[in-house]
Structure formats: structure tokens, C-alpha cells
Symmetry: C2
Subunit: 387 residues, 2 copies
């Protein structure tokens, strides 16, 4: 096993506002995100040699055509990648491999989802696997909350602190779905979705798209962002059993996929002490409890200390290690296939000191963690600045 | 734009029998193909560092779990790639990029489809794109046949020769869906599906899986197949407009995606005269007319001469350039996500001189061409032996 450390660089990033885009289809969204990314990179569609697109619900389009058709990327390859909610970052990962292999100089990774056109919970509960029948994403993640309450003495207030923090952050971001702060009381008194997860413990349904232009560092050095292109310091993806919650070995206190991906990525990036070395993290807070467990799985604090880490403000934008300065899935939104590339976009802009929302001061190294299939898969990317 | 020429090698290949596997689900099939490939490569699941799986109808499983779950490939990454009927070869392509990038030493590309569980034409005619409504794959490809008849004077007998040839080949292959020869009369008198395409002009519905183990040449040199591993001489993929047949510019006489992919791949592999240099080709004969048009688009003969090329026996196993010695999609079968990897498997075994069916004598260089979305995408791979 080798590494693609420092072999790929991000030339430009783009992202639509996330939200209920009843007036736009997935083609509108992907065009908006892709052109913003190309403008940021200083390239045109002609410069894009190959494309990867993350998209879960393929009825919105089909195959590589999801991106190739609206962007008129004809005469060159476009691959659709699908890996549950981690589809976007897996698209980014494969795009990085292609550039690092020497096959292409400039490529695009993007992701898109039109959840307003799907309805439902965002989880294909009636598709295929028998254990999915009757399950829902809130219902499954709720089990990790009740187990954590039992094990660590956490309460619904601990969960509410996550939502409050992410709404403080998202309120400052012009592209976030819910641009307003909320109080602890509002979060705690919200309607129950799946006990103990209330309305503000669950990310909502959003439409959106995001795009990233990837190249080799030697090309990035001659580009618009020649001084501040983002370098891929590590990328690790781990699949575990499908719906690991249904396995007897699942401890309901975190996700093995994230733990292994983090260990692998830190080793690749040469990170010894995550809390000291990493400046910010966009983590997969599909539910408030998921953010707390992710913080632990990512090694930002010890097992059982995730809730305190957030309560003490360490995950705030001005804390030790800012978590979801964008507002995260909870406040920014979670159009499934888009989320991975949206995280890459956010981390890139943060380390470049040009965050659109709350800027983490002196950010140099950031993590993007994209979970899928209730822990079936985790894709994790670490981005840093050139020396 | 660069190249991955000679950067990746095939260590081992595996393929299930294609057919109506009512007694097996997609998990059974993928396990069978993957273990055959691993045995052939002399590796175990522990050696597989990452996996790509081509699969169109994701209801059979979900995401990377399509392969990760049945093969218990936990703790490492599995990506689902979906690109219409070219999903399998796009999975292979991305696996090659990852190895060529240096990220992994040994990976698997595989593909699977359980069409017996889908029913219908194998085309998602009611999904998404408005122009798809009411269309069918036979209906769309039939338009290329009528146009070719008009332009070149071809007849239904020209089409029938394709079916007869592919059934002669497939009859010899123990894994082919339809292991019997047919007569020209039988082909021509078969029930009509979409004029002028009769029953034997159309590939059928098959279940199946195929798998390929990929590594770097320096590792292949120390493996079981150290003397005869297959080298990736070129890989090119081209997306065109979604359903190009609905574009005004479509000439109904071939597929631009194949033409561009072939041009690109020949340049990468250093092929000047395809007919003289290539020994065999597995081409995408979803319909008899498609094989004839592919032969032209691949430059094996001039435009308009495809039917004569086959009629004169040049595409026979003992002809100038054997086309579909396996029996092709028509006779071997076409479980959509599996087909691309099945083609790679066939070409690999042919150039290694151990074809399971009809062996092309002295085969050294082979092409696998995987078309998707009625010409929306073409993925093309050229495999050769080490010097």
C-alpha cells in the first residue's frame, strides 16, 4: 500500500447555496457549482480532461451523464461514483487517483443531489437489503445516542449543544440552508423525530451541488492559486459491513470505518497529534450524535469525552479544533451526493483564509470526513497548504 | 493529458457462467467470480487493498457494499461505479488509475448484475430523462440498422451473419449463456423484436459476475502469471451526449464515443494499423447491428464495409481479427455491470493462450470495447503481453 500524499492539488472550488431549490433541477445546480469552481481555478470546460460525479439517487439523471450532459463535457470521460452518503468524497478520491496516476493534468470532481424531488428520509428504506425495511436513518442513529447516554451519561442537552454551535456557524455562511441561530431551548423543545433525536438533531433535506478542480502540484504552482493551492496530504476510505448497526459486533458508540480511515489518513499525512496539528474539520453531522461520535473516532478527544469537548467550546470556530465551521450537514445542508465535495470546498477555502462563512483563524491543515450508510463507509481527506 | 500505458498489469481473472441464475443472488455470483480471480492471481482477500464494482441496478445491493458485503472486504475501500452498460469497464479503469497512482499494490475490479430480478428490457425506460419514456434499447438501436440498410444496402441477412458467428463461438465456451450454434435461417426467421432486429439480433437477459485482479508490473513479474500477465497498453473512456440518438447531429451510422475512444487508445498504445496489429476484440454487440458499426468505429475496416468484413469471415476466430471469440453479448450474455470485466477476462485469457472457449491462435494484443447508454459512453481497453 502506497500513498498519494502531495501528488494532487486543488486548483479551484465551487458550491451552490444549499436549500430547497424548487426552481432548479440537478442540471442547474451542477452547472452553477462547476462554473464557480472553474472560474476559481481559472480554467474553462475545455481544460477539464475527465470528471467524476457523486450522486446517490440516479433517477435525477443517469450515469456519467449526470454531469457530462449539463456541462456538455462531451468527447471525454465522466464517471458516476455512488457510495451512500460518501459518494461525493469517493468521487473526489477517484479523481485524485487519476491525476496522481499521470493519466490527466486537470480534472473535476463534483457531486449533486436533488432531494426535493425524492421526498422521504433520504434513505432508500425500501430498497434491496431486507434489514433496511422499516428502518430509517434517524431511527438507526438514535440507537447510538441512547447507548451513549447509557454509557457516558450524556443527555439531550449534550446533543442540543451540537445543533446550537452548528447554527451559530451556519448563520454566518451565505450558502447555508438555515442561516439563523437557535437557542438551546429551541433545540431541546423541538418535535421528536426518533427519540432522543429531535428536529434539530437531524439534518434536513437539501438540494445542492459542489465541485472541485484537481491538478498536479507542478501545474497548480503556475495557476491562479499558485501560492495557496490546497494539497492532498492524505485520503483514506474504509468500507465496513453494510449497515454495521445490524452486526452483533457493533458497539453503538462510534464507527469503525471512521476510526480506521482516520488512523490510515493520519499516518499518510504524518499527523501524530490530531488535536494539536489539525486546525479545522468538516465532519459528517447527519445527526448531532454523529458529530459527537465522529469527534471521538477522529481522535480529537478520548472516547466518552466528545460531548464535553463540544460543551467546553473546543469545537467552536475559535476553539482548539473548529468542527463544522460551515454549519455542517445540520445547518449548511446535506444534498447527499454533493456533501463530500462541499466539505472539500469548505476546508480548501478555510486553509486559504477566504472562508465564505466564519473563518477559522490561521487555519493551515483541515480534515473532511464523509460518512455513509450509517457507518458502512467513511471517506476522509486531509488538506494542507504548500510549504 | 498523460497515459497509464504499461503501468498496470492483470494478475488474475475470474468469471461466472452467464445465464439465468434463479438459484443464485448477486452475492453468490460476485463471490464465485472474485474467488476465481483471486485463485488465478494467487492472492487471498487479505491481499486485496481496494475494490471497484460496476453495477447498474443498485437495488441488488447498495454502493460499495455490492461487493464489500459478500466478499467481507471490511476495513478497506470499495467503490461502486455506474456508467450505463459500460459500468464494468469504468470500474476496471478507476482501479487501474489507483494502482498507477501508487496508492495500492493489489486491487480488484469486478462487476455484477442480476437481470433475472429486474425483468424488462434491461434499459431503465421509465427513469428520469423525458426522451427515455416509451423508448427501448432494441427500438433505439433498430434505427441505426434501418439507416445503415438505406445507406450501405445491408440486409437482415448481414445482421444474421453476426448472430451465427457469435453462436459458433459461444457454443464452444463453457460459460456462455447460449451454448449452441444457430443457422442463418433460424436467425432470419426468428420473431421480430424491433424491425429489423429479430430475436437473434438482440442480446438476452443474463445474470453473471466477473472480476479482475490488478497490480503493478513489477509485482506481476513475481506472481503466478509472471511470464504472461496482461499489461494495460491503453485505456480510454469517452462520454458523449446522453442518448446521442436523440441529437440532431447523430448520423445513425456509428458511435462517436467509440470512434474517439479508439483513436485515443490506439495513440496511447502506439497502434498505427488496428487490423494488422490487433489479434482479437471483444466488442459490445448488444445488438447485431452494433457489432457491425463497432467494427467500423474501431477502424477494423472502412465505413460501410462492416457487414462485408463479417460476411467474408475476417471476424471469425481464424480470421484476420477475431471479433467476440467468446460469443459476445449476444451469445455469452450481458449482465450489465459485469460485461466490462467479463471482456477484460476474455481478452486476458486469449492473449495468455488459455481461452476457455475458442482460442485465437497466436493472440498477442486484444481490445475490449464496452458501450453504454446507446452510445452515451464507450470505455475501451487494450491489453498486451509483456515483452
Amino acid at each position: 500500500m502506497g500513498s498519494i500524499k502531495d501528488k494532487t492539488a486543488i486548483m479551484g472550488v465551487g458550491c451552490t447555496a444549499f436549500g430547497e431549490h424548487w426552481e432548479k433541477d440537478h442540471e442547474d445546480l451542477i452547472v452553477e457549482a462547476a462554473y464557480e469552481a472553474m472560474d476559481d481555478a481559472g480554467v474553462t470546460p475545455d481544460d477539464i480532461e475527465a470528471t467524476w460525479v457523486g450522486n446517490l439517487y440516479d433517477f435525477t439523471g443517469l450515469s456519467g451523464a449526470v454531469a457530462a450532459e449539463p456541462l456538455k463535457l462531451f468527447g471525454k470521460p465522466t464517471t458516476r461514483v455512488e457510495n451512500f452518503c460518501a459518494s461525493g468524497m469517493d468521487a473526489f478520491r477517484n479523481a485524485c487517483f487519476a491525476v496522481a496516476s499521470g493519466a490527466y493534468d486537470v480534472v473535476m470532481a463534483c457531486g449533486v443531489e436533488k432531494l426535493m424531488d425524492v421526498g422521504g428520509t433520504g434513505l432508500p428504506v425500501d430498497m434491496g437489503h431486507p434489514v433496511l425495511r422499516g428502518s430509517s436513518a434517524p431511527g438507526m442513529f438514535a440507537l447510538t445516542a441512547t447507548r451513549s447516554f447509557h454509557e457516558y451519561g450524556w443527555t439531550r442537552e449534550d446533543l442540543a449543544h451540537v445543533a446550537v454551535k452548528n447554527h451559530i456557524n451556519g448563520a454566518k455562511h451565505p450558502k447555508a440552508h438555515f442561516r439563523r441561530e437557535i437557542t438551546l431551548e429551541k433545540a431541546m423543545n423541538a418535535p421528536m423525530i426518533a427519540w432522543p433525536l429531535g428536529r434539530f438533531d437531524c439534518c434536513a433535506m437539501s438540494d445542492g451541488a459542489a465541485a472541485v478542480i484537481i491538478t498536479r502540484p507542478d501545474i497548480a504552482k503556475t495557476s491562479k492559486h499558485k501560492h495557496d493551492y490546497a494539497l492532498t496530504k492524505a485520503n483514506a476510505m474504509v468500507n465496513e459491513a453494510m449497515l454495521p448497526m445490524y452486526r452483533r459486533s457493533f458497539d453503538f458508540l462510534g464507527f469503525e470505518a471512521t476510526r480506521v480511515a482516520a488512523r490510515t489518513a493520519y499516518e499518510e499525512a504524518g499527523i501524530k497529534n490530531p488535536l494539536e496539528e489539525i486546525d479545522l474539520a468538516e465532519v459528517h453531522d447527519c445527526f448531532s450524535i454523529t458529530e459527537i461520535l465522529n469527534i471521538q473516532d477522529l481522535g480529537f478527544c478520548k472516547q466518552g469525552e466528545g460531548a464535553k469537548f463540544i460543551r467546553d467550546g473546543h469545537a467552536n470556530v475559535d476553539g482548539k479544533l473548529a468542527v463544522n465551521p460551515s454549519g455542517g450537514l445540520k445547518c449548511f445542508g446535506h444534498p447527499i451526493g454533493a456533501t463530500g465535495c462541499r466539505m472539500i470546498t469548505e476546508v480548501t477555502k478555510q486553509i486559504q483564509g477566504r472562508a465564505e462563512g466564519a473563518q477559522v483563524q490561521n487555519a493551515r491543515l483541515g480534515v473532511a470526513q464523509n460518512l455513509g450508510g450509517t457507518g458502512s463507509v467513511c471517506s476522509l481527506t486531509i488538506l494542507g497548504l504548500p510549504e
